[in-house]
Structures are given as C-alpha cells and as structure tokens.
Symmetry: C2
Subunit: 116 residues, 2 copies
C-alpha cells in the first residue's frame, strides 16, 4: 500500500522529494514544529493517525514520540493551495521539542520592528 494516487498527484515535492509539514496543536493553535514528509511518511501519517516524518539528519522514517513518548495524535490534515505544504493539527503529548520545551519556537525570539 502506498499514498493514494489522488493525493500523490496533487503533491509538489522539493528536489529531495520532501514536503514541509507545519505541526499545530489542534485546540490551542500553538505552532509546535516543522518537519518533513515524503509520500510514504504522509501515507503512514494518514493511515495510522500518528505523525510520521522523514528525518533528513538520520535518513530514516520517524514516528514522532516513538522513543520519547511525546506522541502526536493527528486530528486534521490539509494540503495548501499549491500542494507544496502540509498542515497537521495534532494532539501533542508532552513537549514537542527535543530540548524539552513545549514548542520548537520558544527559545529564540528575534527582534522585530512592529509593522504598521
């Protein structure tokens, strides 16, 4: 079994065959992290309800939380208008970030002039 061809046809991958997935906590709206998927990772995610990514650093599939226990139960998935980004709304158990913070965006705030 592989990714539904009707979905695969709409997917626009980068040169490396990957698509970025934005991961958001389904109820609070927090953006937790960004990860990468190929067709197989998306297939596994949609058919198991457990967020599964392609690890670019380790070169392997990665069920989020498999070792840490900080699992992501998928509640909603969508493709964007260009088919080149995935949005996952999940129920995150424990911290999403490997540093132990709730999200991967908690620690490095950049100075910005407020637009108007």
């Amino acid at each position: 079994m592989s990714l539904d061809p009707k979905i695969a046809d709409r997917l626009k991958r980068s040169g490396d065959g990957l698509v970025p997935a934005v991961v958001q906590q389904h109820d609070t709206g927090e953006v937790l992290m960004l990860a990468w998927m190929d067709d197989e990772a998306l297939h596994r995610t949609l058919t198991t309800g457990r967020a599964t990514y392609w690890s670019r650093s380790r070169g392997e599939y990665w069920v989020k939380g498999e070792t840490s226990g900080n699992v992501q139960f998928v509640r909603h998935a969508a493709l964007d208008c260009d088919g080149d980004t995935i949005l996952l709304k999940v129920d995150q158990r424990g911290p999403a970030c490997h540093t132990g913070t709730r999200t991967c965006f908690d620690d490095d705030v950049l100075p910005v002039i407020e637009g108007s």
Copy 2:
C-alpha cells in the same frame, strides 16, 4: 545593511539558501501560509515589520500584499531550536491566500484516521 551577523550565524539554510517561514495570525492562531526567506528577506522583514519573502517561482523579493493590499504586519518572529525554520506571527489584512481564502489550507483537507 544586511542581516545581523548574530542571527545569520544561527540560521541553517537549505541548499538553495532558503529557510521556510511559517506564518500565523497573531491573535486567532490560524496558520495562514508557508513562504521562503533568504537572509535579505529576513533582514527586511525584521527591520520594516512587513513580511517579505523570496518568491521561488518568480525569483524575486516579494513584500506580501504589495500588489493585493493583503499586507502582513509582523508582531513576533522566532527561530526554531535547529535554526532552520522561522515562525512569524502577523496581523493579516484581508485573505492570506492568492485564491481569496483566509488561509492557504482551507480547501484541500486530507482524509485521516484519528490517532489514539
């Protein structure tokens, strides 16, 4: 003037020199879109408060809303734990998507088995 070297040193770019930016409505938490930045786009975003991206399709800088009027006023910016993703919280005027929908993720929902 270019991007603050203290920020540039922490930025991990893809092979094409770009970093994905997740764009979120600051008050409702909606994920509006994903776009791409190089160092100069990030510099312009942080120093003008107007979200500015690198258009991969047109090969040029792109101040969001410059032609459509659907501007993004930046309220918050952060780098993730790996320095390879940017999160922008913005005040979006009008629809974020060029198709006229509020977000780029409104129209193509994928079927998913709920995880448990």
